[in-house]
Amino acid sequence: MLLQTTQLTAHYGDFQALFGIDFHLEAGEIVAIIGANGAGKSTFLKTVTGLLPALPEAVRFDGARLGGRPPSEIVAAGVAMVPEGRRLFPSLSVEENLRMGAYSRRPGKWNLESVYELFPMLRDKRHAPSTSLSGGQQQMVAIGRALMANPKLLLCDEISLGLAPIVVQEIYRTLGRVTAEGLSAVIVEQDVGLAQRASSRLYCFQEGRVSLTGRSDELSREQISQAYFGV
């Protein structure tokens, strides 16, 4: 069991966003999280990465209780996130963004060279301001930046958002290559079909709760619709 959350709750001030999420992921798995806007998907990722507080036992990663630890400890343990909306650093060039990803200095196969091999078009743009790239290219930088931390687990928050379908295909193909080498991933997706195809298991969130979970290839359209909208 690589990642496990037990009765995970989360609050924004007085507002409760998560109501006891039970979630698990085995090493090497790709698990998808789907759900409507506001269902708590991003909140879940924020809590796992330490941006939101949690009880110590609520989040276990690689055997250690990581709930409530600061993000720097969680990154050092091997979790890296590709944030929603990419969140590249506008003052930094492409290469500088990638280098920031390696701040935690975790050893592994991912470095500038291997990232440029994965995304060859970034090599030509390495010194360009990160904001001058197209949406798809920025997404590649964001993924590359997360890989630079040599994580055991990659958290991808809506990486298809705002991108043309052909670009999305390309990105998921590349992601597939990366995870085939053993990297585990959680993918949060608005596109349900995409989520099902890209993952082995999936969870559906609805208003801060898990409304459905199962193997991605075994869940039917109707099951998912009902769980998605809470009908």
Binding site: G50, P70, V75, R87, S91, R99, M100, R145
Partner: protein, 296 residues
């Protein structure tokens, strides 16, 4: 004619010092958008600290080390940097946020405390750090133009400090962390950056610059406990004129301010500082984002 060249030259040299006052503030503003109202008071605190390291505190058993200014500076800078680190982590980190009130009030309170503490320890008598004779030496450029050696040293130090800051900010790992933290604090934490530590490092560096500026101010002129606010305004104006986010811009802003003041002093001793403020206000109207604005 030569008199004008002399005036402008003196102004440029003076501007170098103002740039040095402003560099620390430019860094802190750039990394964490904190307005430190006590900035000038910390510079004067640095001046008096340098003074005390050499000559001690009057009326107390502390007699000072009596070392020359350069050695004293080397002792003062690490002390100043550590102080800055502690101040940021201990007090100022808690004031950061969207509301400018807490940081303004806290630094305002610090300003009052520093001024009055210095007043109690050193009285209002003007003091000066001896430059061991260097203050009287000058360089002659042609027949009628003389530049003091000490102001020239200060100018060169200011240039070097600005170049160092540019290099640090744009070519080092730490500088990259500064820029990333200033851009997006949540995402930078996801990279494993401890933002509290990064902010404190920025302040530590800024305070090293403050210590340097304070020492030089004490060498070049007389210092009094109430001098702080004036220096804050010069630093602030240099940063705004130059454009936020650019150290060379801050340098240019300082030079423009120095030249304006120098020209003003020529007309009338009372007008020097006023002309500087007026030039700032004019720049604010015609080029509010400064000489070299960095777009975010």
């Amino acid at each position: 004619m030569l008199n004008w060249i002399d005036t402008i030259l003196q102004g440029i040299i003076l501007g170098g010092l103002y740039a040095l006052f402003a560099l620390g503030q430019s860094l802190i503003l750039g990394v964490m958008r904190l307005t430190n109202v006590a900035h000038g008071d910390f510079i004067i605190l640095g001046s008096f600290a340098g003074y005390a390291l050499i000559s001690g505190i009057p009326g107390t058993p502390l007699t000072g080390l009596g070392l020359n200014p350069v050695i004293t500076m080397l002792i003062l800078l690490p002390i100043a940097a550590s102080f800055g680190y502690g101040l940021q982590r201990g007090v100022l980190n808690g004031t950061l946020g969207a509301d400018p009130m807490p940081s303004l009030v806290v630094t305002f309170g610090l300003s009052i405390i520093i001024q009055n503490l210095l007043l109690e320890l050193f009285s209002a008598d003007p003091r000066s750090i001896s430059a061991l004779g260097v203050e009287t030496k000058s360089l002659a450029l042609g027949e009628n133009i003389h530049i003091g050696i000490l102001p020239l040293i200060i100018f060169v130090l200011a240039l070097a400090a600005t170049a160092l800051m540019e290099w640090l900010f744009h070519r080092t790992d730490l500088g990259r962390a500064f820029r990333a933290t200033a851009d997006d604090i949540d995402t930078v934490r996801l990279m494993g950056v401890n933002h509290r530590h990064v902010y404190a490092l920025a302040t530590a560096i800024a305070f090293a610059l403050i210590g340097l500026a304070g020492m030089l101010q004490g060498l070049r002129t007389v210092i009094q406990p109430a001098d702080g606010p004036g220096l804050l305004l010069y630093a602030f104006e240099a940063v705004i004129i130059g454009g936020l986010g650019s150290f060379w811009g801050t340098f240019a802003g300082g030079v423009l301010l120095g030249v304006a003041q120098s020209i003003g002093f020529r007309f009338d001793p009372g007008w020097g500082i006023l002309i500087g403020h007026v030039v700032f206000l004019v720049m604010l109207m015609i080029r509010p984002s400064g000489f070299f604005p960095k777009t975010r």
